[in-house]
Structure formats: C-alpha cells, structure tokens
Amino acid sequence: MSADMIDDYIASVGAALGLPIEDAWKGAIRANLEVSLRMARLVDEFPLPDETEPASVFSA
C-alpha cells in the first residue's frame, strides 16, 4: 500500500472504531502500522493446513 492509501485506511478504520486521531499522531501511527503489517505478512505467507487449529481453542 502507498503512504496515501495507508493514511486513508487509518482514517477509515479509526472512524469505524470511533478512535479520535489527531493529525500530529498520524505519522507515528502509520510507521507502527507499516511494521505490524510487515510482520503480519510474514505470518500470512506461511502455508498452513486448512485443519490447523488456532492456539486459542475454546473449551466449553
């Protein structure tokens, strides 16, 4: 995603969650989000069997 796209995404998700985001915070939020998405991509690209259970298994 380009920086503009990430800024739009932050504004949209922030609005959906009701999070107030001041202009002065946007650069740091974008920088953090870029790192987090890079980390998430590393996990995302690892193939796992469809049957894999999540670590958080609910027990009734």
Binding site: I29, N32, L48, P54
Partner: protein, 461 residues
C-alpha cells in the same frame, strides 16, 4: 545484612539472629538512600511492612513456623494489586481507578511464606515497553550505570533487585519483560511456563501471552520465591490445575545427563559482541557445542508481535477513545495502529502459534535445554533511539526483545542468567520444555556454582 540474600535473611530471622523488623528497616533505609538514583519505586509501603514484620517476629517468638521466606523484603511491579494502593500499571489513566481491596494472589502467597512487601515498582506504561522508561514517573535507572536503561517493561523490578534494594521482586513478561530487565540489570529472572503462576489481581496486557514471575540475585532465592507462589488458583482462568512442583529441593541435582544445545539460526544473528561472548561463556562452562535450529523463529517473533499489538489495542480501546492524550504518546500510537490489523491476519498468527508449538515440542524430544541470548546488546543509554548492528542502523525499542519473543510466544519456561561482563552485565536465556522450570533452574544453579554466571554488585551506586 543490608544486601543479604533472601535465604540468608530468612535463616537469620528464623534463628532469631535478626528480627524481621530489622531486616525491613535495613531495606527501607537502602531504598531511601539509593532510590533517588534508581527511581525504581513508585510506592513504598513502609507502614504495612513494619506491621507485617512485627507479626512475623511475634509468630517466631511464639514458636510458630512462619515459612521459608521469613522476614524477606520484596517489591512488585506496579501492575500487581496491592491492597490500599491504586494499580497504576505504569499509566496516568489508571490512577483514577479505586484503590485495590485485596492483594494479588502472588503477593498473598509470598507473604504466607513469611516474606514482607515493601512497595510497588516503576514500569513501562501498560507493560508495552522494552526500555523501562516512563513519561509519567520518569525512567527507572540501571544500577550499574544510571545513565543506562533498565530494560522493560519490569524496569523497576530489575533496578530494585540489581541495586540490591530488595533481594526479590516480581514482574510480568508478555514478550520479554522479565528477561530483558534481568539481562540489562545483571540479575536472575524466571519466566515460568504460561499458566504456571496465577495472574489473579494483576493488570493484564495480552491475556494469551501474559506471565508473572520473580527476579532475584541468586538461583536459590529465585527458586524459593517461585516455589512459594506455585499452585492452582481459580481466580486466573489460565492458571494450571497442576499441583506445585517445588524446584528448590532439586537445584543441586547433577546436570550431567541433560541434553543441552545452543539455539541456532535466528538466535545467532543480530547480536552485539557482548551477547555472543555471554552465550559462549555459558556454553563453554557447560561443555556444549551442539547447535539446533529453531524452525521459523523469526516468523514466531512476527506472530507474537501481531497478537500483542491487536490484543493490547482491544484491551485499551475505550481508553484510546476517551483519554488518548493521557497515554504516553509512543504507546498510544502503537496501540492505535494495533487496532487496525485485519482480523484474518490475527487468526493466522494464532494458527501459526499452534503449528510452531508442535515443532518445538518435537524438538524437545531430543533436547532438554536450549541456550539463547536474552538481549542482542547490553543496556543502551536512556533515551537512545537507534544502534548500528552489522553495519545497519536499527531502532532500539522494537529490537531489544527479538530473541525473547519467539520463546514466550509458546509459553516455554526460561531462566535468564546474568553473565557479569565488564563494564555492563548481559543475560542468557536457559529455555526448558513446558512445565520443566526445574531443568532451567538446575542448570542455572550449576552455572552459578561454577562462577560462570552471577549477579554483580551494583556498580553505579
């Protein structure tokens, strides 16, 4: 007796060579004298401590057994509930909460063993921190060089034990917050198996990754504190139903039959020379040359990062809506970004966690203990933003925990042991299979007896 170990204090108090009140007064005097340098305490509970000490002394005078930690002063990271104090969890916002009406389970258990709480300790805001810095309370400072970080988020715990203000402190570890301050402050720290010690009445961060555990200046003290705190607790849904498995009685067991290996790959990269030296010294002392690869450790670190930032954001969502300006700005910005991770990516991180756990359990069929660095470097300067490693400039904050995160990710028990390099100590992780804290503690004890690891006297005081 001012810098005596917990076991020495307990022995002296039990045999009436020292009163519990004298032991507490000595700790309070040391705190008063040195904490203006260290900034490790946010609350000193002197009145409560003296009252408890008098109870302990009266019980001993009456011939009662008060427990293996008789008269031992200890302190807790300020995310533990302390009756009568507000549990601030390093934040400004939580100071508006009502005062706690009951102590955390682990405080109750230590006091049931005769130990005496003397205060609450500084920490990174809401435990989302590896530095020990705090914008509201000021940074906790390293006892070996007060211009350096303690590491975090249990920074005050590392500082108070490293500075020998108390022989035992408690902290929490979600991604490394016990092991990092242990490394930077040159002390022993135990992050037990996930679920081993109750978290009841402590302020959470990431429910599926939060652990509580002790810090100490010797392995015996660490084991004594750990043993006193074990056991099921229905007040923590994640707490094990296993009975206590005391480690102190088995510390001196021979370790000759243990299969010990160095963690390879990810754990041998991104290291300053001091970290390489520390791991090499531990390996040499144990005669270990075998290296085993930990599959996908970098991805495990990434998955831990994703789960942490999203669960942390979920925990604080309402505070982020209502009081965003009362957060430490860097932590607020990190939490807001955590609220924006698409849900499928978090689910995949939890599935990867399951897969990774299975790989490590398989590996532990042929290995009893893994050796890995605790931090890539010695304590950086307070406020330091970046360092140059392998010719590449890297940010300090996100890279301090790169070797601890893949381990706590699946809840493995770890003892962080201090290698007393000059001028600054640095820690090494001894990593055992789930529920085998005893193995890590036995190896730590053997290393301590060999002189390969030890908590150096505080050089900065």
């Amino acid at each position: 007796m001012t810098t005596a170990s917990a076991s020495e204090i307990a022995k002296a108090v039990t045999s009436r060579k020292l009163s519990a009140l004298e032991a507490i007064e000595a700790a309070l005097a040391r705190i008063e004298h040195y904490d203006p340098i260290l900034n490790s305490f946010t609350d000193v509970t002197a009145g409560r401590a003296r009252a408890k000490a008098r109870e302990v002394d009266a019980a001993i005078a009456a011939g009662k057994n008060v427990g293996p930690l008789a008269g031992v002063p200890f302190a807790v990271k300020n995310l533990f509930d302390v009756k009568g104090l507000t549990t601030r969890a390093g934040s400004k916002i939580n100071r508006d909460l009502p005062k706690a009406t009951r102590d955390a389970t682990l405080i109750e258990r230590l006091e049931a063993a005769g130990a005496i709480l003397v205060g609450a300790l500084n920490m990174g805001e809401y435990a989302y921190d590896f530095t020990g810095e705090n914008v509201h309370d000021g940074p906790s400072r390293n006892p070996h060089d007060p211009s350096r970080m303690t590491g975090g988020s249990s920074g005050g715990s590392g500082s108070a034990v490293g500075g020998a203000l108390v022989p035992i402190a408690l902290g929490s570890d979600t991604n490394g917050s016990i092991r990092v301050p242990s490394s930077f402050c040159g002390i022993f720290g135990l992050k037990p198996t996930y679920g081993r010690l109750s978290r009841a009445r402590s302020f959470p961060f990431v429910a599926s990754l939060d652990h509580l555990g002790p810090f100490a200046r010797s392995v015996r003290d660490l084991a004594l504190a750990y043993d006193a705190m074990q056991g099921p607790d229905p007040d923590d849904a994640a707490c094990t139903t296993r009975a206590a498995e005391p480690a102190a009685p088995v510390l001196a067991q021979n370790i000759g039959g243990l299969r010990i290996a160095l963690a390879g790959g990810w754990f041998q990269n991104h290291l300053f020379p001091e970290a390489i030296e520390a791991v090499a010294r531990v390996a040499k002392a144990l005669g270990v040359t075998r290296v085993v690869d930990i599959p996908e450790a970098e991805r495990a670190r990434a998955a831990a990062y994703v789960i942490t930032t999203t669960e942390g954001a979920s925990l604080h969502l309402d505070r982020l809506r209502k009081r965003p300006n009362d957060f430490e700005p860097a932590i607020r910005d990190r939490l807001i970004s955590g609220a924006m991770i698409p849900a499928p990516l978090v689910d995949r991180a939890q599935k990867f966690r399951h897969w990774y756990r299975a790989q490590l359990l398989e590996l532990f069929k042929s290995v009893d203990l893994l050796i890995a660095p605790a931090t890539p470097c010695i304590a950086p300067k307070i406020g330091q933003v970046s360092f140059v490693l392998d010719g590449v400039e890297m940010l300090v904050r996100p890279n301090i925990g790169i070797h601890t995160q893949p381990i706590s990710f699946i809840g493995l028990p770890v003892v962080a042991v201090p290698v007393p390099l000059d001028p600054m100590p640095i820690g090494v992780q001894l990593i055992a299979p789930p529920w085998r804290e005893d193995i890590a503690l036995r190896v730590a004890y053997a290393l301590e007896r060999m002189g390969a690891v030890s908590a150096p006297p505080p050089r900065g005081l």
